[in-house]
Amino acid sequence: MALRFAPENVMAASNLLKMTSFPAAEKAPAVQTDDVCRYYPMGGGVIHAVNGISLTVESGEFVALLGQSGSGKSTLLNLLAGLDRPTSGSVLVQGRDLAKMSSEDLARYRRNDVGMVFQAFHLISSMTITENVELPLRFAEVDRTDRAQRVRDSLERVGLGHRLEHRPSELSGGEQQRVSLARALVNRPQLLLADEPTGNLDSRTGEDILNLIRELSLTLGMTVVMVTHERALAERFAQRLIFLGDGKLVSQEVVA
């Protein structure tokens, strides 16, 4: 069963969630956006991809962003990932305003605090899966001696400890998404952002991946924000559903 909130009472809903819902509710919010906007100039006009969204995600929470194509969910996810900057408003992650960070600080944030999983997996095809998973550790300047173990641990956690030297093209879609997940987790981030992680997978494999994400979230105490358009899956795995439409927050539902 889901609790439904009217769009005009989003902040109130958020406060209620803080009071009632989650084990980590006492901590500072993992993510907080305040009237965040992202506009793009296009063909003489302006696209309001994200238009004044304010929301709060608590630490350890699993949230799903839902909406139709063009509703602004991926743009919002990119803002949370520090890949894009808001036109106005603020994006606070663990108390730090991403809008005010330098590009170098944003890169450091992406490296150390956030992991990303994409619909298209975005693995580098010329690298083995070990090399793919090792890449964030190279950017984070982790010592070579520590790397091998961390990569193996990460791949074992997603059940691919036996495919270390394979290339992405030798793996199934589900396995590739697991590699992508292992890469996102290897730097032990506090926040996992998943952009349509099941979009390229059959329903059974998609369920497996989401099971894995939920399990990791619980085990590692990680906050998860997932973009999806599959409501049924979202209801099964997320603790809260956030609906977007035309760049605005339409409604939220807490999954019972």
């Binding site: 990932a81 890949l83 150390n112 975005h122 690298m127």
Partner: protein
């Protein structure tokens, strides 16, 4: 990102497009090879010219005389000296002082005396010249028949070919190894009981010698010498001596024999018993240092002379030649630079998504820029190394070709192409720097890519 990670990723990326990157690297290597070949040719030609000049023995030599002597030959020089009569004389302490000057390798007196060689019952007149051991490097000895002096005071003689023909018209070469007798005049001090003053002349004229009179005896002496070599040209092109030498002895032997010279007349006028020299020839390590040595000797109060202007002009000529050779050599490298830019721009276009992924998982703009720089630098390094090897092969071919050409014209072969060790390092560094400069635009273009856009790009 750490240096070794950067290098590893760069090499890995280069290996992804082996053909394209390989061809670009070969392009760089051709550029480097052409630059190396041209500059090495310049270096080789310069060394050849310097060697020839040094071989003539004129350009690395300073001739030193006392300002007391030879006055009136150069008015300008005379005017510079306020009290020439008080100028220092060229004696042994002055010679020793010059020997210890920086860049000086040898200080020898100029010895030329009249002498006779007695061989086969005949006497043959000729000028005797003392030669230092360093004269072995003189080009006159390039075609030496026999060998050079075994030591600086050896009882050995080298003859001019024309003089040897006078001694043995049928077969001058058979003289080598033969013993001849040198007849010469030895300078002898007067007996001690005369107080170094002559006794005879004044008495005959009814005039007594004053305390100022001074003299020495010249006594005919002989010395057995072994002929060890025959040369066709006079060493130093005959420039050092006013008379053409035909009989050459080690200079220390001439000093040991105390041969009386023309210039002894001057020392008898000066009086005193100490040995003085009319002219000392100072050999300098490098023709480029002649001016420095000349200045140092001038400061000691002596008059100096050197053929310096010719080397200055030569250096200017080779600087210009090197510049032009460098410019021509760099043209190929300039073309290779365009190839690097093209290759890297293509790589940026092809790897847009990969760059986006790298940024999404934590690469900074600087990391991406450095990665492309590293790729450009690696191509520059490998191109540089390959270019040196290619340049070496080209240089060998130039030297072999030149040798064959010279051989056909009955000339001794010469290395006209010389690759100095500094050029190896400089060419590789230059290749890397040029490649990095070529990588500037593609690298900054890659760093500027918007990850959101590139991740949409499929």
């Amino acid at each position: 990102m750490k240096g070794y990670d950067l290098f590893e990723l760069a090499v890995r990326n280069l290996r992804q497009s082996k053909l394209r990157n390989g061809l670009t690297t070969v392009g760089i290597s051709v550029g480097v090879a052409s630059l190396v070949a041209m500059l090495s040719l310049g270096v080789g030609l310069q060394q050849l010219a310097t060697r020839r000049l040094a071989g003539s023995g004129m350009f690395d030599t300073v001739f030193v005389t006392s300002k007391q002597d030879f006055r009136g030959f150069d008015h300008e020089d005379d005017q510079k000296t306020e009290h020439p009569e008080k100028a220092p004389v060229l004696d042994q302490p002055a010679r020793d002082q010059m020997t210890h000057l920086r860049y000086v390798t040898e200080v020898e007196p100029e010895v030329r005396v009249m002498g006779e060689i007695v061989y086969g019952g005949q006497t043959h007149f000729g000028f005797v010249t003392g030669l230092p051991m360093s004269a072995r490097e003189n080009e006159a000895f390039d075609n030496l028949q026999g060998k050079f002096f075994s030591g600086p005071a050896a009882d050995e003689v080298i003859l001019m070919e024309e003089f040897a023909k006078e001694l043995s018209p049928q077969d001058p070469k058979q003289l080598i190894g033969q013993e001849v007798t040198l007849r010469y005049g030895e300078r002898q001090a007067l007996p001690a009981d005369t107080g170094g003053r002559p006794q005879l002349s004044g008495a005959q004229n009814g005039d007594s010698n004053s305390a100022d009179d001074f003299g020495f005896s010249v006594v005919r002496k002989t010395q057995a010498l072994k002929v060890i070599g025959i040369i066709q040209e006079e060493p130093y092109g005959g420039m050092r001596t006013v008379s053409r030498g035909r009989i050459f002895l080690p200079v220390d032997l001439t000093e040991k024999l105390n041969m009386a010279q023309f210039t002894d007349m001057r020392s008898s006028l000066r009086g005193g018993g100490g040995k003085t020299y009319m002219t000392l020839t100072v050999r300098v390590k490098d023709p480029g240092k002649v001016s420095e040595v000349q200045d140092a000797i001038n400061k000691m109060g002596f008059r100096t002379f050197s053929v310096l202007d010719a080397t200055k002009s030569l250096r200017r000529f080779f600087t210009v030649l090197d510049l032009f050779l460098g410019i021509f050599g760099s043209l190929a490298l300039a073309v290779a630079t365009l190839a690097i830019i093209n290759t890297l721009v293509m790589a940026v276009l092809e790897r847009r998504r990969e760059i986006g992924v790298m940024k999404a998982i934590g690469a900074s703009d600087g990391d991406v820029k450095r990665l492309f720089f590293a790729e450009a630098g690696a191509m520059g390094f490998f191109g540089g190394v390959l270019g040196i090897l290619l340049g070496l092969a080209m240089g060998k071919a130039i030297n072999v070709g030149t040798s064959i050409y010279l051989h056909r014209h009955q000339l001794p072969s010469e290395a006209v192409w010389i690759l100095p060790p500094w050029l190896i390092g400089a060419a590789i560094v230059f290749s890397i720097v040029v490649s990095l400069l070529a990588g500037l635009y593609p690298a900054s273009r890659a760093a500027r890519l918007d990850p959101v856009q590139t991740l949409k790009y499929e």
